[in-house]
């Protein structure tokens, strides 16, 4: 083994063997915090000095985001209405809302895959335009490339960044082990189960070392057991890597299970209806009594929106359901 290779493997330790992983080694931009204390800290960034950003600056800031578009019948539809939201560095924020409220669309806007009609998206306080590898989106249908192997998929973002082959291989190995898929580097996507595919998608997103992970109902298509397992893994990965996560779901319990905060969007136009700070200790479980209690509270509000959405849909009758995210 050459000197440089040794150096690399020291930088990317195998997650299963050494018990402590310093997230700052993986990405020096993110603040260092221990995973075990995270749940008790509550709203973490308040008063906590961060490495290079003053604590007042949000990792992701949404400033009066509006999105409207023309339906096929020619009328303008307001999909998102003055969304204001701040997500702190290292925070796990969940967005819930009835289907059609624009929560996935909002994630696409943050990812830069679509352009908002007005308003600004700020990362570390600076407005951003278009896509950027500082925020990576994980799709519900995983969006993995079937012409590449698992390793090729994980490597993709790094290749686009122009990383050297040795560095790419080292990191690919590291992130595949992080999601427990070390042995599947040379498999093709169709050979994996749904849960494994989502884990590859997570590894692929992490491998570009983004500050922000945007997750668009990533576990919605999975069976309950696989989903439970991936909740545990995502929580572990989050505490090991210190990423900021914005997680969209229609499942309130899932949001409470994972999030530091749950943001409820209203139905058409999508507005921030209310926010809930979740201070339950981690690790949580979907079936915890506390989770159920908070879920009841949030569901009460969500129910109103769902009823409104159903009403609108019944009244509209045959009017086509237009989703901006599916346009381009």
């Amino acid at each position: 083994m050459s000197a440089s290779a040794q150096n690399l493997s020291a930088q990317y330790p195998v997650p299963v063997e050494p018990p402590v992983i310093d997230p700052a080694v993986i990405d020096p931009r993110t603040p260092v915090r221990s995973g075990s204390t995270r749940g008790k800290l509550g709203p973490v960034s308040v008063g906590t000095p961060l490495l290079d950003a003053p604590p007042a600056i949000a990792k992701v800031g949404l400033d009066d985001i509006c999105l409207s578009y023309k339906t096929e019948s020619g009328e303008r539809l307001l999909a998102l209405d003055r969304i204001n939201l701040e997500v702190k560095p290292g925070e796990f924020a969940c967005i819930v809302g009835p289907s059609g409220c624009g929560k996935s669309t909002l994630l696409h806007l943050i990812a830069g895959l679509h352009q908002q009609t007005s308003g600004r998206i700020l990362i570390d306080g600076k407005p951003v335009q278009g896509t950027g590898t500082d925020r990576i989106l994980i799709f519900q249908e995983h969006g993995l490339f079937p012409w590449l192997t698992v390793g090729g998929n994980v490597e993709f973002g790094m290749k686009m960044k122009g990383l050297s082959k040795a560095e790419r291989e080292e990191k690919t190995r590291y992130y595949l082990r992080l999601v427990h898929l070390g042995k599947f580097k040379d498999s093709y996507i169709h050979q994996l189960s749904g849960g494994m595919r989502q884990r590859v998608a997570i590894a692929r997103a992490l491998a570009t070392e983004p500050d922000v992970l945007l997750m668009d109902e990533p576990f919605a298509a999975l069976d309950a057991q696989t989903r439970d397992l991936l909740h545990d893994e995502l929580e572990r990965i989050w505490s090991e890597t210190g990423r900021t996560i914005i997680f969209v779901t229609h499942n309130v319990r899932e949001a409470i299970r994972l999030g530091d905060r749950v943001v409820l969007l209203s139905f058409r136009p999508g507005r921030v209806k209310s926010e809930f700070q979740i201070d339950l200790p981690r690790p949580r479980h979907l079936e915890d009594a506390n989770v159920a209690r908070v879920a009841r509270e949030i569901l009460g509000e969500l129910r109103e929106e769902i009823n409104r959405s159903l009403e609108v849909e019944y009244n509209e009758g045959a009017k086509p359901h237009v989703e901006v995210g599916a346009e381009a």
Partner: protein, 253 residues
């Protein structure tokens, strides 16, 4: 094994029938040669290297012409697929142009390029360009949108996005179009070569006609078929198999 047996029976029967008809001498041998005569013509052609040269020249031309078609066709197809104006205007024109046999371009090609290789290449390109363009247009539309989004999301843009994402993502949808384009390119080439004296398989075939040597004509016809078959079987079938393996498709695309 059974399949091979059926194969042998079929082709043996075909050869037998041919031999029988030839041996009955209903037509003079120079009009209806025996399989043996064709075999001898093939042997002689390879022996004096004229067939080798013809194959090399023809393959070179078809490869250049086809390569131009593929590159141009992909650019055109992507353009038509991603631009509403182009799609409405050029889309229809492309489909209607496909009903025009490529050899109709020959008189124009002669005037524009002169009596040389470029005129032949032009006809080859016109023969296969439309297939590739239409296939690419269709492939770009059929390709799931999520691949393009995922690619952009991971930092690919411009040429990188095309080369590393859009092209491989649309490949299963365009491979049959590429195959059709190849077949058209090969046909257009042989037709053009028959009209214009030059080296190449088309010309060797016409030489057989001029010498009233039907054995040679049939020998070259067999060569043309064989090359088409081999390219299809080796290049395109291989490509399809690789795609099926990677994408996990069971049926041929």
């Amino acid at each position: 094994m059974k399949r091979a047996a059926r194969f042998i029976v079929f082709y043996a029967g075909l050869l037998g029938l041919w031999t029988l008809l030839a041996e009955l001498k209903i037509w003079p041998p120079y009009l209806f040669p025996t399989p043996w005569g064709v075999g001898q013509a093939l042997y002689a052609g390879f022996q004096d290297h004229s067939y080798w040269i013809a194959i090399r020249v023809s393959m070179e031309r078809v490869l250049i012409g086809y390569a131009i078609s593929v590159v141009l066709g992909m650019i055109l197809g992507l353009g038509v697929a991603s631009n509403k104006f182009l799609e409405e205007t050029m889309g229809g024109l492309l489909v209607s142009l496909q009903s025009l046999p490529s050899i109709c371009w020959w008189p124009l090609a002669l005037l524009w390029f002169g009596l040389n290789q470029n005129a032949i290449l032009f006809v080859v390109v016109m023969g296969s360009l439309l297939s590739v363009t239409l296939a690419m247009e269709d492939g770009r539309k059929q390709m799931p949108k999520i691949f393009g989004m995922a690619g952009r999301n991971l930092g690919a843009s411009g040429f990188k996005l095309f080369w590393y994402v859009l092209l491989p993502a649309s490949l299963p949808f365009i491979v049959s179009g590429l195959k059709q384009g190849w077949a058209f390119a090969w046909r257009s080439l042989i037709t053009a070569e028959m009209l214009y004296l030059s080296l190449g398989l088309g010309q060797v075939l016409m030489m057989g006609r001029d010498l009233n040597d039907m054995s040679a004509v049939i020998a070259v016809m067999i060569l043309i078929i064989a090359i088409g078959y081999v390219v299809d079987g080796v290049v395109f079938k291989g490509m399809e198999r690789r795609l099926q393996h990677k994408w996990g498709l069971t049926a041929a695309t």
